[in-house]
């Protein structure tokens, strides 16, 4: 073989990935203008940049600038963070289970986190402590417990059985919602509203202080999973194959479980249950650039941000002036795709 002609060849997926990432970035920029510029306090795209240098934008009063800085900006930042985390934890869960149908909301991780979060809120009223402060950490523990439980139940003779995985998810989701329902009887009025909002998901509660509280968990999950993308990629071709290639798979799986639980736990504490993002987004990214995490993961995370910003914007305009929970929008988009994937993959189940 003539190696000279061969070495000029570069893998096509690289440039393809960059094209899609550019497109996603443009979408994010447009949605940023929309999401920061739009709201009950006024709709003007210039609001999205006015807060940077208010002295040049005389048409806006101080109140409007303040609304942007204290309400719309934290909401935008939260949407970006949640989009990144949900997309990445979805892709990581799929690598862990070696199955494109796995998703933290489907296999019960999010519900487990929400259950512990709700229990925490309900108990805080009884025992008089500040639930808000420790909420991200409590729901992290819930997510960690469920992830470990689901993983070890579904693992039979070294193989993850996807049918068991999803059935366990169904059971855990049902159990978690039953316990959430039960706890709501013990909650006072304000806690009840919080609980309601947990089960549907909303970015409406965004504030700088809650974001900063959860930031350590979010950042550890984001950076940690990002750094594991090469070994996680090898998990996709099988656990023993990954081991033969020099990956310490036991350690890797433990890290992935903890990092997914950190991310999902913190996100649930901040926004409640936003389902199906971790299923839909990696699927779209794989259709665009294939399953290799080096290409797929960055694109997947950008698409996650696009989906979150778009869903949040829809949630805000569909029944104006009231707001729809964002979890309804993502479920409406995601559940049909999930059914489609099950039908398509039916023969591939083992």
């Amino acid at each position: 073989m003539n190696t000279l002609t061969l070495s000029r060849f570069t893998p096509i997926t690289l440039s393809q990935t960059h094209k899609w990432m550019l497109l996603a970035s443009v979408c994010i920029f447009a949605l940023a203008l929309l999401s920061i510029g739009y709201g009950p306090a006024g709709w003007d795209w210039r609001l999205a940049i006015a807060w940077l240098a208010p002295e040049y934008f005389n048409q806006f009063d101080a109140l409007q600038i303040n609304v942007v800085m204290q309400i719309r900006l934290p909401r935008f930042v939260l949407a970006v963070l949640v989009g990144l985390i949900l997309a990445q934890t979805g892709a990581a869960t799929q690598a862990l289970c070696r199955n494109p149908l796995a998703d933290p909301s489907i296999i019960g991780i999010s519900a487990g986190a929400a259950m512990v979060a709700v229990a925490f809120i309900a108990l805080s009223a009884q025992f008089n402590f500040n639930a808000q402060l420790y909420l991200p950490y409590a729901s992290f523990l819930g997510a960690l417990g469920v992830t470990s439980l689901v993983y070890f139940i579904a693992k039979q003779q070294g193989q993850i059985n996807i049918t068991t995985l999803i059935l366990v998810g169904v059971a855990i989701n049902a159990l978690a919602f039953a316990i959430i329902g039960l706890l709501s009887f013990f909650a006072d009025d304000s806690a009840l509203r919080l609980i309601n909002y947990w089960t549907m998901g909303s970015l409406g509660g965004a504030s700088w202080s809650t974001i900063i509280q959860a930031a350590p968990l979010l950042l550890i999950s984001l950076i940690g999973l990002w750094r594991l993308k090469e070994p996680m990629n090898l998990l996709l071709i099988g656990e023993s194959q990954a081991q033969y290639l020099g990956v310490d798979t036991n350690k890797l799986k433990l890290y992935v479980i903890i990092l997914v639980a950190l991310g999902v736990g913190a996100v649930v504490a901040l926004t409640g249950l936003i389902g199906f993002v971790g299923l839909v987004v990696p699927h779209i990214a794989r259709l665009m650039v294939g399953p290799h995490l080096r290409n797929m993961l960055p694109l997947c995370m950008l698409i996650g941000v696009v989906v979150l910003l778009l869903s949040d914007w829809l949630a805000r305009i569909v029944i104006m002036p009231a707001e729809l929970p964002i979890g309804i929008i993502t479920a409406l988009l995601g559940a049909p795709l999930f059914i489609y994937l099950i039908v398509k993959n039916k023969r591939g189940w083992s």
Partner: protein, 262 residues
Amino acid sequence: MITFNNLSVGFDNHNVLNTISGSAKAGQLVALLGENGAGKSTLLHTLAGMHSFTGSVLFNTKPLASHAKKRLATQRAVMMQANHVGFDFTVFELIAMGRYPYVESLKMQSEKVHKYAAIMDLSHYLTRRVSALSGGEQQRVHMARTLAQLNAFTQSAEPRLMLLDEPTSALDMRHQHALLSCVKTFVEQGNSAIIAIHDLNLASLYATDAILLHNKKVLQSGPINTVLTEQNLQQMYAMKLHVNPHPYNDAPMVFSQRQEFL
């Protein structure tokens, strides 16, 4: 290179391998022969470190488990049969995974992938999705990945080991010989390989040594010319077989004869 002594492996109280011993040294291409279910794959998996066992497995005179994983991956590669990949990677991506244990630039990695793809006759398939390939083509992709993992056909101070489980089962005759001659050249450069294989004549043409597995035990092992005898083979396969010299190569050839259906 790799030595195993009194090796026993069992699943669910069912013994699959019973106190077997053997070795593969630098320069040896060992054919692992035996009936279906004789334990060939189990032996390969055990030597690769997948199953728990009693007895000892020494790789370069040290127990297998005591080797650092990433370094071991550059000295020992495993190619298993039925290598189904659930996610649809391209041929390029799959071969590039063999380079995981190495620290190198993407450009360097790409050159390596092209080198080993060319050896396995895959240069024109690099951008294809693996699911679009035939079984034999997929087998060649996994072989190219194995070669890439061991940095085959380059200078190296330390000998390297290949464990291959029926690498030729889906290949046409030309590619069977291409793959085995490639492994033979690799072995002649001071490395070794253990291959589980059903085709006795291919084994005879390319292997230096053979291990015959029968009834959970080693029936016989040694240089392949001395192991492939009518007596051994008839005992192993419980059927009439003839061994005659190859007309052009110095290798015994095994002929079966037509049977009546009972």
